[in-house]
């Protein structure tokens, strides 16, 4: 054989080896796990329990054979509640881990920082947090973006509907005057301003306070002003750190409005153990008592406690669980990870969630893929949150009026 012939033979062999090795890699890649990349604030209870609930759902799905014959792999990155960390987490998940779908999320501020990175990669994203309508404005026209949590204005509309329904159902409850005590930051201020529009038929008075989270913690001046106003409904919009001290200081000055409402993003885990909690109204997407009226919620509750030996204390736990199932079911329906097929499959979502409601994606004011639209009106009764409204998920009658300790 000539030298030319030998060289040709070597090339053929090298090509054959490359094809065989490459095919091997392709097969291995095809059989590898489906990667879901989650970004959550792990030091916060929402992220801590949300991520645990996600892992619970992944383990259940994998134990049942996975999706499309492949296992799910959940890769969680901590955003530390910082926008720049969230953006870096998206970059890492996209480039290092090469995830197939982005999931997770809690804070709107963090998510606004993550959005430029998400837009860069344009992968399917199913987000459970970020309620600010500023986020909605930033994701207009993104067909790969699915949002599960109700936007802030949807929440406001939901409460208007809820209070109207409660007043109609229980004539003893009458709301003409409301006093809004809101933390002086962006969260409290925007909530108050939104509420003024939503509840324009009430006589509203508002006053800001410095949250304990920002070095405050003395609410007595605001509470005294509320007491002077004599409202039918008193609502404070602040953080979990304010919850018990506000109740204590209200008790101290003898302030007992007929309706005492708290609207923090999350309650302290042991708030219900205080006798001061009894009768306090709360807003939220879920309460443990929903397990009494929802088999899916009961299953989630039992499975979570069995796996982690703790009770889910924030609605971000069932939201995280929902996040995984919605994505997994859509991949199964699509039969592929192809982006267009997956978007179409997600649009067909009809998932009975542990939050009590069935999740579907419909248009909101600005985007095409909005999940839940309603919040719930809850009340602390005997140490547990009970659902007062919507009536189809109600687990208790309202305790009215609030009497204090």
């Amino acid at each position: 054989m000539s030298l030319k012939g030998k060289a040709m033979g070597l090339r053929v062999w090298a090509l054959a080896i490359l094809v065989v090795v490459g095919a091997g890699f392709l097969v291995a890649a095809e059989e590898g796990p489906i990667k879901l990349g989650a970004v959550l604030p792990l030091a916060d209870i929402t992220g801590a329990q949300g991520s645990k609930a996600m892992q619970l759902a992944v383990d259940e799905i994998n134990a049942a054979g996975g999706v499309l014959g492949r296992q799910l792999e959940l890769i969680i990155v901590d955003d530390e509640s910082k926008a720049e960390k969230g953006a870096a987490a998206i970059d890492k998940l996209a480039t290092v881990d090469n995830v197939d779908v982005f999931i997770g999320g809690m804070s709107s501020g963090v998510h606004l920082g993550e959005l430029p990175a998400l837009k860069k990669y344009e992968r399917v994203t199913v987000w459970i947090g970020a309620a600010s309508s500023l986020v909605e404005q930033a994701v207009v026209g993104l067909d790969w973006y699915f949002h599960i949590h109700p936007w802030d204005y949807l929440q406001g509309a939901s409460y208007v509907e809820g209070w109207a329904a409660l007043q109609a159902e229980y004539p003893l409850i009458k709301i003409h005057k409301a006093f809004w005590a809101y933390e002086e930051g962006a969260f409290g201020t925007s909530s108050y301003q939104g509420s003024l529009v939503a509840f324009s038929n009430w006589e509203n008075v508002g006053e800001s306070f410095k949250s304990a989270l920002l070095g405050g913690g003395d609410y007595r001046a605001v509470l005294r002003h509320a007491q002077e106003f004599d409202p039918d409904l008193f609502i404070w919009v602040g953080y979990a750190a304010d919850a018990l001290p506000i109740m204590e200081q209200a008790a101290e000055i003898g302030f007992t409005p007929p309706l005492f409402v708290g609207s923090p993003p999350g309650w302290p885990a042991d708030f219900g153990t205080s006798p001061l909690a009894d009768g306090v109204i709360a807003y939220g997407m879920w309460a443990p008592s929903i397990k009494d009226v929802s088999p899916v919620s009961q299953h989630f509750w039992d499975a979570y406690i069995a796996k982690y030996n703790e009770q889910p204390a924030t609605y971000f736990a069932p939201l995280g669980y929902t996040n995984i199932y919605v994505v997994a079911e859509a991949i199964a329906r699509a039969g592929t990870l192809d982006k267009e097929a997956l978007i179409t499959a997600l649009e067909a979502t009809n998932y009975a969630s542990p939050l009590g409601e069935t999740l579907t994606f419909t248009p909101s004011n600005l985007i095409q893929h909005q999940g839940f639209r309603n919040q719930k009106i809850l009340q602390w009764q005997n140490g547990a949150q009970q659902v007062l409204w919507p009536f189809e998920y109600a687990t208790a009658l309202p305790a009215y009026p609030f009497t204090g300790p």
């Binding site: 801590a48 306070f209 920002l214 070095g215 913690g217 002003h225 001290p245």
Partner: protein, 311 residues
């Protein structure tokens, strides 16, 4: 009349204001005076240990609030695991935090005593960050607070109803001030500490063990602020960043009173507490409380500076 003659005009004005303002408030808005004294007591009592360290050791402890936060966590977990009320947990907290203070001093502060002031600030700032992140890793950012029914005890005088428990901070500030003054003026150790604070080299020349004095004062201060963390917990939630605002407030009070002026810290705390309560008593003006705090601080510092120049 002799008293009035010996007082300067500004001192006389200050005296009249100190007597007049409470009387006016008592007649006009009595709850402002009550809640201002309670609020100011909290500021003052937390600031005193920091003033002690700054006055004797000469270091601005930027981790002051973080030690208080760790004290509050200590009391919380003593309640969970040993069933101790936070006020009772102050006793083990004193011991535990004296030890923590001593270790911190030996391992870090002592090595930075001769370093430039900026390095000392960076050191204590770093300690504050370590404290916050440690709490975050150990107990997450979830706020914790025990339910204590006595913290919302109150009395009603006619139409006025006010909480009585928060006077614990007012009382604690006065008691701690008296005890510290007695310690510094009447005991051998205290006098040695005062001497070290005024002139460490001179103190060393007359045979005072300066390093041991620093160790003692730093440990006592950390023990006090750790125990005060337990008292703080009775009315406040604890979370990793709960202490840092108190570092700033304490430092401002000390700056206003002057280094080494412990009574000034307490009266300044009461004054600022009442000023904040007064501003907050007008609906919609609560947000100005911080402005008032810093405006009073700036005014006092400028006034002192002016007096020094004209003296």
């Amino acid at each position: 009349m002799t008293l009035f003659r010996t007082l300067r005009r500004w001192q006389l004005l200050l005296l009249l204001a100190s007597l007049g303002v409470p009387i006016v408030l008592m007649l006009w808005k009595p709850y402002v005076l009550i809640e201002g004294l309670q609020r100011g007591g909290l500021y003052a009592v937390i600031a005193l240990p920091m003033a002690l360290i700054l006055g004797v050791v000469g270091i601005i402890n930027l981790a002051h609030g973080e030690f208080m936060m760790l004290g509050a966590y200590f009391a919380y977990w003593m309640g969970v695991y040993a069933g101790l009320d936070p006020l009772v947990a102050m006793i083990p907290a004193v011991v535990a935090f004296a030890l923590l203070g001593a270790i911190t001093y030996v391992l870090t502060i002592r090595r930075a005593l001769k370093a430039p002031e900026l390095n000392q600030l960076l050191l204590t700032f770093g300690m504050a960050m370590v404290g916050t992140e440690f709490a975050n890793l150990m107990w997450t950012s979830q706020p914790l607070k025990p339910h204590l029914s006595y913290v919302y005890s109150s009395v009603a005088l006619g139409k006025l109803r006010f909480g009585t428990y928060a006077f614990i901070y007012t009382a604690a500030a006065i008691v701690l001030l008296v005890l510290l003054q007695l310690f510094l003026r009447k005991t051998r150790l205290g006098r040695a500490a005062l001497a070290v604070g005024q002139n460490p080299r001179g103190a060393r020349l007359v045979g005072i063990d300066v390093n041991r004095t620093y160790l003692l004062i730093f440990s006592v201060s950390i023990a006090l602020v750790g125990a005060l963390g337990a008292m703080f917990l009775t009315r406040h939630s604890v979370f990793p960043s709960a202490g840092s605002p108190f570092t700033m407030k304490s430092f401002c009070l000390i700056a206003m009173a002057g280094i080494g002026n412990l009574p000034g810290v307490v009266w300044g705390g009461f004054g600022l507490g009442i000023a904040e309560a007064l501003v907050s008593s007008f609906r919609g003006y609560g947000g100005w409380a911080d402005v008032v705090f810093f405006a009073v601080l700036v005014a006092v510092i400028m006034g002192k500076s002016y007096r020094r120049q004209t003296a």
